[in-house]
């Protein structure tokens, strides 16, 4: 028989407001096995934990139930408390009477009754708990960073600095990501390339970092500390180690009409190309969809002009297999498509552009060499209208926009408006906003400067329609403060398109078994306390793949993720989860049902000798679970026809006891 202690937490008034905690601790006192029951204001506080520790010692407890907040919040805390007092951590069960009781019910009597039942179920379970000792597994001391934007770069550099090898996998031919496309950065207005490209060079030169560019992750197996990953290095038809990046081929290639994705299609590149001058690795790549040689075998100019002999038309995709201890997702974001917002005429006029296109237009390395011109006729625009929140904060229909605030648009729009007025004082600049959101260091001051020093017209209201008429864009908008409908004849309209996670994130999340929210952003293990970890152990999050972020925030989160990875890689061994499956060999009939459903290959069959009642021995084939590989899902326990397979911590008997307690 267990000796169980029950600890009911008030959580201030969070629980005590709707649950009579005194009544709960009284009622649970009489449950089978319970020898001690109390309640306290904050069980998770030092004083609360002391109550637990003392009770464990004083009443020689063999098990305990804490009626408190969700186990996702403080189960770990109370397990540590128990261990500190000499009680096995796995003899602790939590009855969730906050998130699943006091917070969802309003009536004191109802809340109290439910809390008692939840407490009873937990007690019934603890009665059948057994002490568990976690196993250990080794750690592969190498990290994988997926995505080579500023987030991935920063994470990789920090991990490498700590002395661990890191691999970056980037789908594009170069690292650098979105930041490489930007002109200036807010709120200091330093040039993006000036601060990013030295970091890219650092990555290239760091001995601990390998870059797999033009590559993608195709398979992830294993678990924290022991991931097996397959990376597909796509054929770029150029030998990376031979190419010197001289760029002669990109000048001689006769196929000149390929839309240049780096400039968002605003100019053209060749079929063989280097995305931009500071690309890392600085190696040419052949676009197989555009190259005449690859399509019909007629050309070969690049091979002729390459003095280094780096061109290889016969190159094949290569699969690289590597082991990693930790994986960081840094897949970033993209602006959403403007197809569903054609009231702004993005698809009807070349002079309606997105903010990222505006960045390229004002970038000295961009398609217009930094001269602000209208894409349609190359003329200088005299009236520019910026529209904020295009597709952000849009809850009307899911296919159209995003319900969340994209966070970065207010600031970059202020930057665009300010820089335009600075360079071209003859240009009138209007910004239509719903709210100007500038929470950040020196952010609001920056926005106010745009208004007060640079004379940008900020108008509270939205644009309803952009009508291309002649060479003007007729902008129909509302000015809510003046209570007027405005009609502005603009030369250029810039849309602050909402941002969304990169499309590669969803399949990657499936491979990593990392969870995502409804917007396809990765979810964090805890929104406040564990913001850079995925709930899946060993998977970390860096940058905008977790939520919209600006550069300073991305870099801090990237470094935070790196710190978490370093903390993991520093360990020689990891303690595993003891809640794993185990087979009762006497009951196992060797049918292989469990082996077939195990997603991890944790179950193997062994031949084992058994002594029979008649004192003979017989060799039987029985299941054996590798506790280091088993993740404890329990699929095998249900598949087992003879009831031999069970799960530590979630044994069939324990769950049935909970069912019984609830249904009583």
């Amino acid at each position: 028989m267990q000796r169980i202690g029950v600890f009911v937490c008030w959580c201030g008034s969070n629980i005590a407001g709707t649950v009579d905690v005194q009544a709960v601790s009284e009622a649970l006192k009489n449950e089978p096995g319970v020898v001690f029951s109390t309640n306290y204001q904050y069980m998770c506080s030092q004083a609360g934990q002391d109550i637990i520790k003392n009770a464990i010692k004083e009443h020689k407890l063999t098990g305990m139930v804490v009626c408190s907040c969700s186990p996702r919040m403080h189960e770990a805390t109370f397990r540590k408390t128990a261990a500190a007092a000499g009680l096995n951590s796995y003899m602790v069960e939590i009855a969730n009477i906050r998130e699943q009781c006091s917070w969802v019910h309003k009536d004191m009597q109802i809340g109290t009754e439910k809390a008692i039942i939840l407490g009873k179920a937990a007690i019934a379970k603890v009665n059948l708990n057994a002490p568990l000792v976690p196993g250990e597994s080794p750690v592969t001391k190498r990290a994988l960073v997926i995505g080579g934007g500023i987030a991935g770069i920063q994470t990789a550099l920090d991990i490498a600095e700590a002395g661990f090898p890191v691999d970056i996998v980037e789908t594009k031919p170069t690292i650098g990501g979105k930041m490489a496309q930007l002109d200036k950065t807010f709120p200091t207005l330093d040039c993006a390339a000036c601060i990013l490209t030295p970091k890219m060079v650092d990555v290239a030169q760091n001995e601990n970092i390998r870059i797999f560019s033009y590559s993608e992750v195709t398979e992830v197996k294993g678990f924290v500390g022991n991931f097996d990953v397959k990376i597909k290095k796509k054929a770029r038809y150029v030998k990376e180690d031979v190419c010197t990046g001289c760029g002669l081929c990109t000048e001689k290639c006769p196929q000149k009409k390929v839309p240049n994705e780096f400039n968002l299609g605003m100019d053209n590149r060749r079929a063989i190309y280097i995305p931009f001058a500071q690309a890392v690795p600085k190696v040419a790549t052949i676009d197989p969809n555009a190259c005449n040689m690859l399509k019909n075998g007629k050309c070969g100019v690049c091979a002729k002009v390459c003095a280094a002999g780096a061109i290889d038309y016969k190159q094949q995709d290569e699969i690289i297999e590597e082991k990693y201890g930790a994986i960081v997702a840094a897949t970033g974001f993209n602006p959403i498509s403007m197809d569903k917002f054609d009231e702004y005429a993005y698809n009807q006029s070349k002079d309606v552009i997105t903010s990222l296109e505006f960045e390229r237009l004002t970038n000295a390395a961009g398609p217009s060499a930094g001269k602000l011109i209208r894409p349609s006729d190359g003329k200088h625009p005299h009236t520019i209208v910026f529209v904020q929140c295009v597709g952000s904060r849009c809850a009307a229909c899911a296919e159209k926009g995003k319900e969340y605030c994209s966070k970065i648009c207010c600031m970059y729009t202020a930057k665009h408006a300010m820089l335009t007025r600075d360079k071209y004082p003859d240009t009138e600049v209007y910004v239509f906003y719903i709210d100007v959101r500038t929470p950040g260091k020196n952010f609001d001051e920056f926005y106010r400067r745009a208004v007060e020093e640079y004379g940008v017209h900020y108008i509270k209201g939205m644009v309803g329609k952009v009508a291309p008429e002649g060479d003007k864009l007729m902008v129909q908008a509302s000015d809510l403060l003046a209570n007027k409908q405005l009609h502005i004849a603009a030369d250029l309209v810039v849309l602050a398109a909402a941002i969304e996670p990169d499309k590669s994130a969803r399949p990657l999340a499936t491979m990593l078994t990392a969870s995502m929210d409804t917007n396809d952003f990765f979810t964090e293990a805890h929104p406040k306390l564990r913001p850079v970890e995925s709930p899946t152990a060993g998977i970390f999050l860096s940058g905008a793949c977790q939520g919209p972020k600006d550069i300073p925030e991305t870099v801090s989160q990237a470094s935070a993720a790196a710190a978490k990875v370093i903390g993991l890689l520093c360990k020689d061994k990891l303690t595993g989860n003891p809640c794993v499956a185990h087979s009762n060999e006497l009951m196992c009939n060797g049918c292989s049902s469990c082996e077939r459903v195990c997603p991890y290959g944790a179950i193997t069959y062994i031949d084992k000798e058994f002594r029979m009642p008649d004192r003979t021995t017989r060799v039987r084939r029985v299941a054996s679970v590798n506790p280091a590989v088993c993740q404890g899902c329990g699929a095998c326990t249900v598949a087992c026809p003879s009831g031999a397979m069970d799960l530590n911590g979630f044994a069939s008997k324990q769950i049935m006891a909970e069912v019984d307690a609830i249904c009583k």
Partner: protein, 145 residues
């Protein structure tokens, strides 16, 4: 709406640790009400739920049993929810054969981000079960005191 008098159906909800249990927590965080007769049992994955547990609940007087797991493709254990879906489809059809209305059982996908969906699902399921009235078919009278 069709709750007659004081009758409240007893609902047992099995929630997987990674998605639905977190979804239930989120419903709590957002203070979204759902009936108190819903009692949640945490399992590591919906595939840990043995059909026996469902039968046991009915035997012991539950009026409805709901299983909640991660959305297809999002299972923390890759494929557990697919097993659940197949197993429960079989079980439910058998229950139907025994004369237990299939509306008393359900498998739902609730992600960690879907607190609102969790609460809405529980409200709706409780209402649907309440409309069927008390479940007596499988109840083991020996269990009654």
């Amino acid at each position: 709406m069709q709750v007659k008098g004081e009758y409240k159906p007893l609902i047992v909800a099995f929630c997987c640790n990674w998605c639905s249990y977190a979804g239930a927590d989120l419903a709590g965080n957002n203070r979204l009400n759902y009936p108190d007769n819903v009692k949640i049992i945490k399992v590591p994955c919906s595939c840990r739920v043995n059909p026996m547990f469902v039968l046991r609940a009915f035997q012991r007087g539950a009026d409805g049993v709901i299983l909640c797991g991660c959305h297809p493709g999002d299972c923390h254990y890759t494929s557990g929810n697919y097993y659940t879906r197949r197993r429960m489809a079989l079980l439910f059809s058998m229950l139907n054969y025994l004369g237990i209305e299939k509306e008393r059982t359900r498998v739902e996908w609730v992600s960690a981000a879907e607190g609102a969906k969790f609460a809405a699902t529980m409200n709706e399921f409780t209402e649907a079960v309440a409309a069927l009235g008390e479940n007596k078919r499988l109840e083991d009278l020996r269990c009654k005191k």
